[in-house]
Amino acid sequence: MAEKKDRAPTMVDAINRALHEAMDSDETIVVIGEDVGTNGGVFRVTAGLKEQFGKDRVIDAPLAESGIIGFSIGMAMNGLKPVAEMQFSGFSYYALAQIENHAARMRWRTRGAHSVPMVIRMPYGAGVRALEHHSESREAFFAHIPGLKIVIPATPARAYALTHAAIRDPDPVIVMEPKAVYRTIREDIDGIEPAEIGVSRTVREGGDLTIVSYGAMLHRALEAAESLAADGIDTDVIDVETISPLDAAPIAASVEKTGRLLIVNEAPPSFGPAGEIAMRVMEESFYSLHCPIRRICGWDIHVPFFAREQAYLPSVDRIVRAARDMITD
């Protein structure tokens, strides 16, 4: 059993397998990005693809994020299905104009005559002792743009399921990959079906408190839930997984049971995803709330260099304390 787990795929393996399968079954799929070909990606997510599918379908791009996305939009409009990699989410801002101006708008602008069925993958988030600009969580930028879907897998199986789903989607989907989880969890992915985009998943059931999270922080939320359980506090834990369009229904349903909602994510709190989740739940279940919705996030600061990055990230301890406060509130 333990041995099997040791050999089970990491998130990197899982995405890699999904890409292989997809490219194998659909020859319109192309992969593009900096170092995605010969090098197999700086995180090895695209390893082996160039060998198998050739350099025309696995494109080692020049160093230019706006170019990569603009070029991909063009390919998507002309019969291909590009899966573009931003080497780190911190460099995707260079592509924001192309994403906002065209990827998100082409279907609308042309009243459906053209569409941009493409996937943008990007590793994001802190916790891997990386250099500056390699640790941010700016999913809110993309989630605020109409016409885009944003998904964030938390485990290898979900990464596998969401990568397949993103590729099948007829619209642009951004897959933000929590690189802190890239190699820390192994999980069986055999027989996993493509995900349904736009569905929040309940991953733990309790009755006293609802914790909502996603990405790497989901695991801290789950750890906190265990710790709370030891104290007799039972929590629902919900993985929103699709940031946009946000599925608030299961969260609202849970809150109607628990009356308490704690949101955990690693973006800076201000104008981040937690506020939106809270707003949506409030719109649906205000009268069930026993106490204010709370959020445990990063801080409104730049992610410190790695010696102090854990001081930035929500700790299990902070989650547990907040949860206890809410229960006694």
């Binding site: 319109t28 192309v30 025309d56 379908r57 494109i59 791009a61 020049p62 230019a64 706006s66 170019g67 996305i69 603009g70 070029f71 991909s72 939009i73 063009g74 390919m75 998507a76 409009m77 002309n78 019969g79 291909l80 590009p82 104009a97 192309q98 101006n101 065209h102 279907r107 609308w108 602008r109 042309t110 009243r111 459906g112 005559a113 053209h114 569409s115 109409p146 016409g147 879907k149 007829p170 619209d171 736009g198 369009p245 946000l246 599925d247």
Partner: protein
């Protein structure tokens, strides 16, 4: 310890067939085979000019919104676009109405868009005449990607992308040129250097001697052409299209032309440029030049031009009438269509919002 740094002046000389007076620049050349083209081009340019004038009039009357006139740039657009096949891709900036008309975009659709209705851009599925691009130069990497995809899918189609002199300053121009060249995409980059980017003259935009030479930074061949000489433009662009179609490789053409009108209808050029300059360019009007030539060859005369003018006015009148009818219809429809085409399928939040919208109405008090 000096003498290492160098800036070699490019030797480029703009290609020209007819001079500003409609005479052959080089009387050794024969353009007898091109007279048919010149006649068609004359008609297309005149049609575009008149349409543009009507747009301007309608804008001044408040019937339509802001738009970017093409006056003076008809030859650059018609010459370039005339080289495209039906299955080639046309990727415009926001000032290509002459090219659009030539390529079959309906006047009524252009009117409708200018009147502020999204329906004016509703293309047919897979239509390869793309709508205008507003963010300057953002269409360039897209054109490169379109072209690459064509090649990967085994088509021999090309993508032709239009942009201005101002666009060449922006990062997307650079990235697109580089991608096209190094990834071998059959794109034809057509720069209409009309001397101005709103109020910024070409000299304040970049210090290179020519725009054409910028292509060399990507190992890409290029040429300068008199952009007010429709035949010269066609010849140079044809060569670029051939290179794209047969070799799958990109090139860039700089068409030297001039924007004779306002930048857009929100602009007042008297703030930044002299009438003298406009006058000088009026003498190089791309339409007059062909007209003079055709008259000199007795291909056209007053009577023919008169008929042509009437036909054009009639076409424009009908298109505008159709547009007004269409607008009246659209005004009857529910504005709930604003939720259409954001995604292939409406997402749950959008469904909820549309319901909300229908409940609360449009807020006529603000409309």
């Amino acid at each position: 310890m000096t003498g290492h740094l160098e800036y070699p002046e490019p030797s480029t000389k703009p290609h020209r067939v007819l001079d500003a007076n409609g005479n052959l620049v080089d009387d050794q050349t024969s353009i007898d085979d091109d007279v048919g083209f010149l006649e068609e081009a004359f008609k297309a340019m005149l049609r575009a000019r008149r349409f543009d004038e009507r747009l301007l009039k309608l804008q001044r009357q408040g019937a339509i919104g802001t738009f970017a006139p093409i006056k003076g740039q008809e030859a650059a657009q018609v010459g370039a676009a005339s080289t495209l096949r039906d299955d080639d891709w046309f990727v415009p900036s926001f000032r290509e109405k002459a090219a659009m008309l030539l390529l079959g975009v309906e006047m009524a659709d252009i009117f409708l868009t200018a009147a502020g209705w999204n329906e004016g851009l509703a293309g047919k599925k897979g239509d390869r005449r793309l709508p205008e691009t507003v963010p300057v130069s953002s269409q360039l990497p897209i054109a490169a990607g379109i072209a690459y995809a064509a090649r990967l899918r085994g088509e021999d189609t090309v993508a032709m992308v239009f942009f201005g002199d101002g666009a060449t300053s922006s990062g997307d121009f650079h990235e697109a040129m580089n991608f096209a060249s190094v990834l071998k995409a059959p794109v034809v980059f057509v720069c209409q250097n009309n001397g101005w980017a709103i109020s910024t003259p070409r000299s304040a935009q970049t210090a290179s001697s020519t725009i054409a030479q910028k292509a060399h930074a990507y190992g890409m061949p290029s040429a300068q052409v008199d952009g007010n000489d429709v035949l010269a433009v066609r010849q140079v662009v044809e060569e670029a299209v051939e290179r794209a179609r047969t070799k799958g490789l990109p090139s860039m053409v700089e068409a030297l032309t001039y924007r004779m009108e306002v930048h857009t209808t929100a602009d007042d050029p008297s703030r930044y440029r002299d009438d003298d300059e406009i006058e000088a360019w009026r003498a190089r009007d791309p339409i007059t030049r062909v007209e003079t030539f055709l008259r000199s060859r007795s291909q056209i005369d007053d009577a023919m031009v008169e008929v042509l003018e009437e036909q054009i006015q009639d076409e424009i009148d009908r298109a505008w009438a159709a547009t007004k009818t269409r607008i009246a219809e659209l005004e009857e429809q529910s504005d709930e269509v604003i939720f259409d085409h954001i995604f292939e399928d409406l997402t749950p939040p959008l469904k909820r919002q549309r319901k909300d919208f229908l409940k609360t109405g449009r807020g006529a008090n603000d409309g």
